[in-house]
Symmetry: none
DNA sequence: CAGCCTGTTGTACTTCGGTACAGTAGGCGC
DNA sequence: GCGCCTACTGTACCGAAGTACAACAGGCTG
């Protein structure tokens, strides 16, 4: 498993964290982050988790980020996740919970608490019907549709490759075929078509 | 790790499944489920995953259930998850993916896939007050807003330059500032924000 | 006035996206 | 069997996009 790195204002570990991960390290948020680590970000009361996540991402931090909130809130969690966090949990959570979160996130998952997940499902279930029978997908093969969707979400070629377990070269081949079939100039115009923006469709 | 048990109509394993889990077992859905196992439920084309999940739960099955869809769909996934599934993925997914799903679910997580998660977050974000994407223009200057709109329409730097009667270099400067302010990685993600794909719309 | 923001432009550089040549392999229909 | 489609991969190239150093002018504010 990857190493655990905790970011807290005083650069120190709490007892529960060390219990969960005896080998954990800690440092101040401003210091550079290196290595293949899971990054836990302590968010103090009154601070916005999403802000700190966004700030770290802007600094080029690519590692998975997990929010440890002193005062957890579902809205705060939601904002943090949309800002690119991979998990959100109570900073005083039990060591066993932290360990589970680490496992899930370390394997590419997102950790969202039970309550929030239910809320997400409830929220999304409400807008279930919107299933437009798009005409753009008609001429595409199955694989091309998968790629088109990923691109339209904003994924890079490298990300699509990882997602579909193929090489970046193959992704490029699919993208080229898609652009040709849809008459799009580049991936951005492709996304406009797939997302149904403006005149297309 | 817990054992893997696959439920398919013919009670047989597919190659990719065995590759991912050499020790996996398979059986027909009707047979009783016993032991501490992860249960993978194959859903054939045209069938509803949520139905099969609900049926299993009614039979008293308490183990984690993961849907393997021959024809995956986000709506189907959503319904399956609300019905109590712990995961949902393509039945033809690569062994590495299956293995990841198993790890995540085996540790108490939910596996939902990138696309669906984004939709969930988008759906929930819409229901709840602080919608950051509505105010994307707030921090931008007048000129930056003009550039942002053009980019979001799919214009290239060269086209924007011609349109605004400035050099391509200046467009790049504006784009760079916009990306930083909005926390976007590239012009495609910028367009998603401006066009409200992942939030309002 | 000094300092800050906005808008503008320059050179040089790296990374990413897209294309142009390929090639292999499996499935399907005639 | 032969062609065709689909999926996948390779090397190489070019241009677009984005970043890292800048610089300069004008307007506004303490």
């Amino acid at each position: 498993m990857a190493e655990q790195l905790f970011l807290s204002a005083d650069g120190r570990l709490r007892d529960t964290w060390r219990t969960a991960f005896p080998a954990a390290r800690a440092q101040r948020p401003a210091e550079p982050l290196v290595g293949d680590v899971l990054v836990w970000v302590l968010v103090a009361p009154g601070e916005k988790a999403a802000r700190q996540i966004a700030a770290l991402r802007q600094r080029g931090v690519a590692q998975p980020l997990i929010v440890l909130a002193d005062e957890p809130g579902e809205d705060d969690a939601l904002a943090a996740l949309t800002a690119g966090a991979s998990g959100y949990c109570n900073s005083h959570a039990a060591p066993e919970v932290l360990s589970q979160v680490a496992t899930v996130v370390g394997n590419g998952g997102l950790w969202v608490g039970q309550g929030l997940m239910q809320r997400l499902l409830a929220g999304a279930a409400r807008l279930l019907p919107p299933n437009p029978s798009d005409g753009w997908a008609d001429t595409l093969t199955e694989r091309e549709r998968e790629v088109a969707h990923a691109i339209a979400r904003g994924a890079s070629n490298k990300e699509v490759a990882r997602e579909l377990a193929i090489t970046e070269r193959t992704v490029k081949a699919h993208v080229g075929a898609i652009l040709e079939k849809l008459g799009a100039r580049d991936r951005l115009q492709l996304s406009l078509i797939v997302n149904g923006v403006e005149s297309s469709r």
